[in-house]
């Protein structure tokens, strides 16, 4: 029985996957994020961006899911990027030693800009990055 207070919206741009989990990462429902990551990795997308802007709460079960993702990415020789992290979640990631394994950007588009030098493709040239 998975609760309804967690969902993941994702999209792919070239070899980059962008995942935006929403809600509470505080029970087994958070596994959905890990499954989505696995699917992208299996398809050969090795650069994963997770945008945390809509995440309310992360407890140890949610942390476990993220640790699982860190593990999967390193096994696949991929790279993980976290963006839009709230201070309290950053503290949790730091405490659990997760941040050593991810690159952190303030905003999703900054991560994208870093990954895609050709910003035009994203229609980003008009925005003031």
């Amino acid at each position: 029985m998975l609760t309804n207070n967690f969902a993941v919206v994702s999209k792919a741009i070239d070899d980059i996957a962008i995942l935006q989990p929403k809600g509470y990462m505080n029970d087994l429902g958070a596994e959905r994020l890990e499954h989505e990551c696995e699917q992208f990795l299996d398809k050969g997308l090795k650069k994963l961006i997770i945008n945390f802007s809509d995440i309310q709460h992360i407890n140890s079960m949610g942390a476990s899911v993220l640790i699982g993702i860190v593990q999967r990415i390193s096994e696949s020789k991929g790279q993980l990027y976290f963006t839009n992290i709230k201070k309290v979640h950053f503290d949790v990631f730091e405490m659990l030693g997760i941040i050593k394994y991810v690159k952190i950007f303030k905003e999703e588009r900054e991560a994208l800009k870093f990954l895609i030098k050709d910003a035009e493709k994203l229609g980003l040239e008009k925005t003031d990055l």
Partner: protein, 408 residues
Amino acid sequence: MQKNWDLKRLIFNISSLVHLGQEVTSSKGFNEKIKGALYVVTGIFSIPRAALLIYNSRLHSLDLLTSKGLKGIDGTILRIEHRHIKVLKKNEIYSIKELQNNPFYKQNETAFKTLQTRTFIPLFVKEEFLGALSLGRRLSRTSYLQSEADTLRAIANQISTTLHNSNLFKRLARKATENKKLYENMRHIYHNTVQAFAAAIDAKDVYTKNHSNRVAKISVAIARELSWKDKDVEGIYIAGLLHDIGKIVLDRVVIRSKNLTNAEMDEIRKHPKISYDIISKIKFPWKDISDFVRHHHERIDGKGYPDSLRDKELSDGAKIIALADAFDAMTTERPYQKKRTLNEALIEIKECLGTQFDGNISKAFFKTIQKEIKGELKDPQVLPYLDKDFDPSIIIMLLEGIIAELSA
């Protein structure tokens, strides 16, 4: 900064454990509970790979129940004989190195490699062997600190009890009374978890060994005497266990020293507020716990701390814990004061009525002690922890006098 970190860690761990307590006592299915428990362990300690094994006594094996981060391990089993089980210590945290000379390890070397076991915890309830927790390497690649080992043991206990109860559940017909027993059992684990933390607080200070536990029990006795509802009694029990949790971040030396400087005194006086900060961040199934904890050093005359609240501004719960706390301090040896006899302690409480202690709450306390001494209570909470060197008839006479005076 370091202190701050410990605090965050502490809040995260307790929250996780309280959450786990709620999970395993919920109506969720067994598999989900067990998986949830494994996620809590792996989350708290940053362990990418782990497995939970269940003991099959018929086949003398440990079978895979659930796992995380491990691929292609289906069908992995460990062989385990009675003689192996006998030498395993109950809920002990074994590093794989410690096991390597054990025949049990040698017999299962391949399976241990498949599971990438770094830490192995045999799970028991009483003498019954139920299974084992296999934990892989931590993300940080570090071993477990003392405090982490305590938390890990508390979780192992919860998992053991969950396994045990599921066995029980299978054996029992689902009659209402038996379901109730099961629920009681579950609640018991919940209490055990919080108790594990209370023990960690008290461990900071040899003088207050078991202090939190006694304060919890004395508080329960008073609340019952005041006819509190069962649910609220349970709340004050938890508040009693955790009232000094803020001390966890204080320096051990400061807590134990006899002659405190003003600065050290100020430091110690921060602990109720720190306890409050911790407790208020945890979602407990009882309200007001954080209030009780914050105000356990307040006094009726407003000369207490941290908020200098007076009589009417204080909740009954805070007054109860304050009295229980002071009584336990009086009747145990402390570095800064000598231990009082029961007689002396009761007189001291009486003399501080209206200044330090509340009259009504104290009256309930006196009454419950009277009942305990007379053997009128089935489940005495205060007496079992007191020295038995008092004369019951003298105490009863003293209490009768005080109670009559208070009732006048």
